[in-house]
């Protein structure tokens, strides 16, 4: 996975920086922002694994996040399970939803999958409001127990999960499995002609992506101590897609950087209040036009090339 020492050094420097920040600036506010950025990192990297590699854009990643979070909410508050059960349960539920939408749509070409995911998340958000007697409606479910009481402790746990998921997905992306996913993005018909069961690989990658996104949703629920229908919102999905675009599609590590960068920038934009989403959407349009390759991954590639040239 780390072809050159410089790759390992870059990754280590990044993790060390993320781990050191709360020690250098021990403020609860900063730790909170960093925790949220790490959560978005998990969602962005899982989005990129499926959509970036296969080229099938998922416009409803929020569906998996919301399903994971609500699973955690019901398990924890309604049925009184210990918080740690939420993680496997939410992964299973997210996988079920991934199969429900993936099986009929991913065997087709065309935009069916993208739109079905969008519809799925919109309808789930409506259902959470309509069946408010059991879902708590606009208020959602409250009173979840935290996974780890100490805020710094939870931050380090989330960071460890992010690093583990990113390493796992990068290893998968560079394996034979990942090669096939990239080949599908390149030319699906040729893959099929080469005897590859294209549908199986697309659905498998969606299932992997959904499972980790659902776990991220459950962690988020146990961090916020509540879940709300807003988790299913289209804005959540778009935010994640924007992060991946900023990070650089199909690079896996780029979206992590994109997510952390954008969450921190968003905090700086806090004063703009309700203009925030407007700025986000306009930024997305500008990126689509002027930086289709993203920002984080290309920058890293340039730095890396410069370093290797100097070393050689």
């Amino acid at each position: 996975m780390f072809n050159k020492p410089v790759d390992l050094a870059g990754a280590a420097a990044f993790v060390a920086l993320m781990a050191a920040l709360p020690l250098v600036f021990p403020s609860n506010y900063l730790i909170g922002v960093l925790t949220v950025s790490v959560m978005y990192g998990i969602w962005a990297v899982t989005w990129d694994f499926m959509s970036g590699l296969t080229g099938r854009e998922n416009f409803g990643h929020a569906l998996f996040i919301g399903v994971g979070a609500y699973t955690a909410g019901f398990m924890n508050t309604t049925f009184g399970f210990n918080g740690w059960w939420s993680l496997p349960a939410s992964m299973v539920m997210a996988v079920l939803f991934a199969l429900l939408i993936g099986l009929p749509t991913l065997r087709l070409k065309g935009p069916y999958f993208a739109l079905a995911m969008l519809s799925g998340s919109v309808i789930m958000q409506r259902l959470m409001l309509i069946f408010w007697e059991s879902t708590g409606g606009e208020e959602g479910l409250n009173g979840l127990t935290p996974l780890i009481r100490s805020q710094v402790g939870f931050y380090y746990f989330a960071l460890a999960v992010l690093v583990a998921i990113t390493l796992l997905l990068m290893a998968l992306a560079r394996s034979h499995f990942g090669l096939i996913l990239r080949a599908i993005r390149g030319d699906e018909a040729t893959c099929q002609a080469a005897g590859i069961n294209v549908t199986f690989y697309k659905i498998a990658s969606l299932v992997i992506s959904a499972a980790f996104a659902g776990a991220g949703g459950a962690m988020y629920a146990h961090y916020q101590l509540q879940v709300s229908p807003q988790l299913f919102a289209v804005v959540t999905s778009i935010t994640i897609i924007t992060m991946v675009y900023v990070g650089g599609m199909a690079s896996i590590y780029g979206p992590v950087g994109g997510a952390i960068l954008l969450v921190l920038l968003t905090e700086l934009l806090r004063n703009f209040g309700e203009w925030r989403l407007m700025i986000y959407s306009c930024a997305l349009i500008l990126i689509l036009f002027f930086l289709p390759g993203g920002l984080v991954a290309p920058t890293w590639r340039r730095l890396r090339a410069a370093w290797l040239r100097r070393a050689a």
Partner: protein
Amino acid sequence: MLEILIVGAVSSAIYAMLAVGFTLIFGVARVLNLAHGSFYALGAYGAYVLTSQLKLPLLPAALISIALVVVFGIVVERVFIRPMRKSQLAVLMITLAVALVVEQALFLTFGSEYRNVPAFIDAKFTIGGVNIAGARLLALGVGAVVIGALWLFIQHTRYGSAILAISQDPEAAQYMGIPSDRIFSVVMGISAALAAAAGILAGPFLTVQPTMWLLPIVKAFAIVVVGGLGSIPGSILAALMLGYAETIVGYTISTSWTEIVSVLATLLMLMFRPAGIFGRRAAF
């Protein structure tokens, strides 16, 4: 029973106006326009601003609002969609971003509270013992007339033939000298006008607020999948089916379950007959 018949027809008419434009753009340009719902929202908001703040009478306000949305639609096509047409997914992304910008612009100017679009007819009519608001009947009537007119336009004019030619075979159409870019703009204008008109007609009895673009997109997608992507008769038939299915579910089970109908229909259709009811075109 009669109530179901009439109310179902009204929602079918609104759905048909939305879905026909959506499918028309797809047929001509192979583009799914996620900003389509924004045209619907902007039509309703345009009518609201022109009547309540500029105090215009409703009919000119409605026409001006539709005209403005048409201009907006053509601008969106020229500036955002055309440079992205190489990749279908880039188009989905850019139109979704445009839809969000519109939603945020509406939110920042008007806030999130519900706005009132006045109805053309305030009276209630009684048909066979069923009370129906005039606005709903008008939506039904205008919807039927507009879609009929569109059908005649496509079948009997040169522009219509060009639209049909491009949707059957874009390359051959280009070899015949049909200016496909100009036709695309025309179609974008038509579809924006239909969506805006649907927004104005539905405004009095549906909620007018910044996120109103979302559900219509979901419904239009369901209709277009059931009817077959790019098929106009298919989407009219599917609009009728969805409109009636939702109304029947609403009356016999509970209005809570109506939202599930469209998603269920989409998934079942994609599972068993992805080409749509008419199956005119294979799932490309």
